[in-house]
């Protein structure tokens, strides 16, 4: 491309990314800034809705009200629980998959990753049918006489956590799987031929090697649980509120958009802090390994 001048080559990358950039500023950056501004406004039904005056009222309300504390704490504990279960179940599953050979490996992979392509609404519906008080699990257990009264899972934290683990565990398996791909099988064999027990090989060779995968999977699962909406809404019902369903109710139920915006902004900040500190941690801890 010798006939081109230096300056046209210089602006070309900007021209190439300009269309997307325009869309992002208009449809992404501006809406986010609008939400940030909205969160500092207040809402008064008697005065006709949103009052465009700067105040910290929504944030002080969320921070001081024990009602909101409960919601944020519930969301946090759900996220921790879901993440722990995803690590405990997803990591060994990824390792087992890694040691399998085709065709079983690809069949199992399809079974685990396939659900990711199905809407979360459909997957949650499946759990609602399974765990409802007249659900399949309870009816089966009762008909074989194992229990007399239905186990209460619908509208409980346990039920929501089970379904969220199901919805999000593919990300954990994928993440650990990706880091296992880099693991040299010969290192494992070497460890064993030098007399290490399988457990030692696992603990001293495999686990340290896949730790980045486990960590990045955990961040994905944690962040997605913290902002999950459809599953807690359907399986948790009205009473078991989490941050996302609360923001939804403020917006579309009580029409208090400024308060809903404040909740959304807090969720966004928490999300960014978690992801950023994870990146910092990985950089510090694994900096040498990537050099």
């Amino acid at each position: 491309m010798a006939h081109e001048t230096q300056s046209s080559l210089k602006i070309r990358p900007y021209l190439l990314s300009a269309p997307a950039l325009v869309l992002y500023v208009g449809m992404f950056l501006i809406p986010l800034i609008m939400t940030l501004m909205l969160s500092f406004y207040s809402y008064d039904m008697t005065k006709g809705g949103i009052i465009e005056e700067f105040s910290l009222g929504n944030y002080t309300e969320v921070i001081t009200d024990s009602y909101f504390h409960g919601i944020f704490l519930r969301t946090l504990s759900m996220s921790v629980l879901v993440t722990v279960f995803c690590v405990l179940l997803g990591t060994p599953e990824a390792y087992i998959l890694h040691r399998m050979s085709s065709p079983w490996k690809s069949i199992c992979m399809l079974a685990i990753l396939g659900p990711l392509l199905v809407s979360v609404v459909v997957r949650t519906l499946g759990w609602a049918i399974l765990i409802g008080s007249k659900g399949v699990i309870n009816q089966t257990l009762m008909s074989i006489g194992l229990i007399d009264e239905p186990i209460k899972l619908m509208f409980t934290t346990t039920g929501v956590v089970i379904a969220l683990v199901h919805v999000l565990i593919p990300f954990m398996v994928l993440s650990v799987w990706a880091s296992l791909q880099k693991l040299d099988l010969q290192v494992e064999s070497a460890g064993q031929s030098l007399g290490a027990s399988p457990f030692t090989v696992l603990r001293r060779i495999v686990i340290p090697e896949i730790m980045p995968g486990i960590l990045s999977g955990s961040v994905i699962v944690f962040a997605l649980t913290a902002s999950a909406f459809a599953t807690p809404s359907i399986l948790g019902g009205r009473r078991l509120k989490v941050v996302a369903t609360t923001a939804y109710d403020e917006y579309l139920g009580s029409l208090n958009w400024p308060l809903g915006a404040a909740i959304a902004v807090l969720l966004l900040i928490a999300n960014i802090i978690i992801i950023m500190s994870y990146n910092k941690f990985i950089e510090r801890k694994y900096a040498q390994a990537f050099k």
Partner: protein, 265 residues
């Protein structure tokens, strides 16, 4: 060495059963002949699949979702291809920052995008329009499209392009006749993943969907919150069947793990 212990295989079996159970149960319940949620061994029938056709509001939502997915995936890929060319082939000021900006919607919870888009669309008067809905979806799927397109542009062998240029082809002809055919697998993969992500999206769409622009997942969500009946099961089962067909095709051509790796990041 590379063999799994029996205990590990048992764990694997339970794990797979756990992954498939909710989907299998939806498909089973869809074939019931009863008017309530029950398993088909008490009476098998296809009546709930026929019932879908009698519910135009689901059919309309399905068409809207397909149209929305096609439109937003096409726009996203159309924007991702030139942007990827810029990122892969030029070292320019702000490159890293612009790339991070393009991937940043992944870091924003969909509920936050939902409330932001709702305020924005209402303010500019696009609430309830199809175009408004399309652009919100483009923002959500753009990072996925960009990643897949970028990875196919990055690994490209450029000798064929140089040959075309030395033979006197213009930039546009080089792109259309040489570059594009080579990156088409990545572009198509990006399009399919974008389409599926758009088609399945519910959390953000719940906010921006007006009565006239309700997508299928939103309509299903609203239905499930009200009542869980065999109709919603048969509708879900139909979606699962369609997804299975797409999945097998995708796996054939790309490998599912290649497409989905990092979907959640």
């Amino acid at each position: 060495m590379r063999k799994n212990a029996p205990l590990a295989l048992a764990f694997n079996a339970v794990f797979i059963a756990f992954m498939l159970a909710p989907l299998v149960i939806v498909c089973l319940v869809a074939f019931t002949s009863k008017g309530y949620i029950s398993l088909p061994w008490d009476g098998f029938s296809l009546r709930w699949f026929r019932a879908i056709l009698d519910n135009p509001h689901f059919i309309d939502a399905f068409y809207l979702s397909v149209l929305l997915g096609v439109a937003s995936a096409t726009i996203a890929v159309g924007l991702a291809v030139p942007a990827s060319m810029a990122f892969a082939r030029h070292d320019f000021k702000g490159r890293g920052m612009i790339m991070a900006f393009f991937l940043s919607p992944l870091m924003v919870p969909h509920i936050v995008l939902g409330v932001s888009f709702l305020s924005f669309l209402t303010k500019v008067g696009w609430y309830g329009t199809f175009a408004g809905l399309v652009f919100t979806h483009v923002i959500i799927i753009m990072p996925y499209a960009l990643r897949l397109v970028l990875s196919s542009v990055t690994g490209l062998d450029r000798s064929a392009e140089s040959a075309a240029v030395s033979l006197g082809a213009s930039n546009w002809v080089v792109f259309r006749r040489v570059t594009l055919p080579m990156i088409i697998p990545g572009v198509a993969g990006g399009w399919v993943l974008s389409f599926i992500t758009s088609f399945d999206e519910v959390t953000m769409s719940v906010f921006v969907a007006s009565p006239g622009t309700t997508t299928l997942p939103v309509r299903m969500y609203e239905h499930i919150v009200e009542t869980i009946d065999p109709l919603i099961a048969s509708l879900s089962a139909s979606l699962i069947f369609i997804t299975m067909i797409i999945m097998f095709l995708l796996d054939r051509f790309y490998g599912l793990d290649n497409i989905l790796v990092g979907k959640g990041k």
